[in-house]
Symmetry: C2
Subunit: 183 residues, 2 copies
DNA sequence: GCTCACATGTAATCCGTTACATGATTCT
DNA sequence: AGAATCATGTAACGGATTACATGTGAGC
């Protein structure tokens, strides 16, 4: 069976312990979401596929009062996860960033509007940074790599915040130049 | 008509001057690709749509020997571009980064394998940084914002290169701790 | 003459989101 | 009693990639 990256998100989450589809989503929303998002529309069908392939096993949850299926990873699943983690070849990575895209085309704007754009981008990343910082205390008891990844996420948001500040200064220089020369 | 971000990439490119679909792709491949990629499969159908909507105009190219259609942006198209550039609301941004994803799940690996993973991620971003640096000289004569955006791209790749170095050091600390304690 | 870059397009497919539908349990 | 959260799923849709098909012009 062909496994997509999403399958590995699920396998990886289950390797940390048995979980329901709902729990997988909840955990992903405070961790992998920031560099690999997944949705219910993928999770439930994929759980079915992975079970059929023998990589995970589901069982009706007796313990909790709720009616839910909890999935555990099988040795076969652990092997599939490990194989992916160590497989050579292209590490897929892509970014879709409307803010930078707009900035690239901002020659069509005037100075004021460009600055506003940078402020909007900055605000967005600051919000994300705070969101991640809020998660941090809960992650401190976690596995060390999960915490390192979270810190990476925070640093990533900070990169963009600092970037906006830098770009605003550069923009001011450009503006002064053209004003002095009189355009 | 509904315009997606891809439409604005095309409008933005045409605002810098008339171009064929092929040229739009070529320009995008050395600029917007790094934060908003587009493919031929989107470009040609979209050119048709934009022309029907009156946002661009195509004309058979007489000048060059080749048979191609060159598109120009119309005043309506410029307005649509400006409207998008200044529109408030969510700035879409998403990242899909297999390297960080793997690192998050690297608890399933041993120390050696984790370091190898970081090296692979680092190598990838270093390659991208060099790719962008190679483009730079050609962009120096360009519009200042295009150059600033390119520099942003270079800084972005550098962020990941530095990140890998930092993570490798952190990994070494973790490894030493657990070795000393004897696990 | 051959190869490479220029040039345009479409169809199949994949991946993922969104919206919807449904219902149980826990908390206030 | 009512709201919020837990919980599972599917169908429609949208966006984008890939592979394929086809042909021309320029330079070696």
């Amino acid at each position: 069976m062909e496994l997509g990256k999403t399958s590995y998100v699920i396998l990886g989450m289950l390797r940390k312990g048995p979980k329901s589809g709902y729990e997988i989503k909840a955990k992903a929303d405070v961790s992998t979401r920031f560099f690999w998002a997944i949705s219910y529309g993928q999770i439930y069908p994929e759980l079915k596929r992975l079970e059929q392939a023998g990589l995970i096993e589901g069982q009706a949850d007796a313990g909790s009062g709720r009616q839910r299926r909890v999935f555990s990873i099988t040795p076969l699943g652990v092997q599939a996860l490990r194989d992916w983690l160590t497989s050579p070849g292209e590490l897929h990575s892509e970014l879709r960033h409307e803010g930078v895209l707009r900035f690239f085309f901002a020659e069509a704007l005037d100075h004021e509007e460009r600055v506003e754009l940078l402020h909007a981008i900055r605000a967005k990343h600051e919000r994300l940074r705070e969101e991640l910082s809020a998660i941090r205390p809960a992650a401190e008891s976690d596995e060390p790599l999960a915490l390192l990844t979270l810190e990476t996420g925070i640093a990533y948001q900070e990169f963009f915040v600092d970037l906006c500040d830098r770009l605003e200064r550069r923009l001011a220089e450009i503006q002064t130049e053209s004003t002095v020369r009189g355009s």
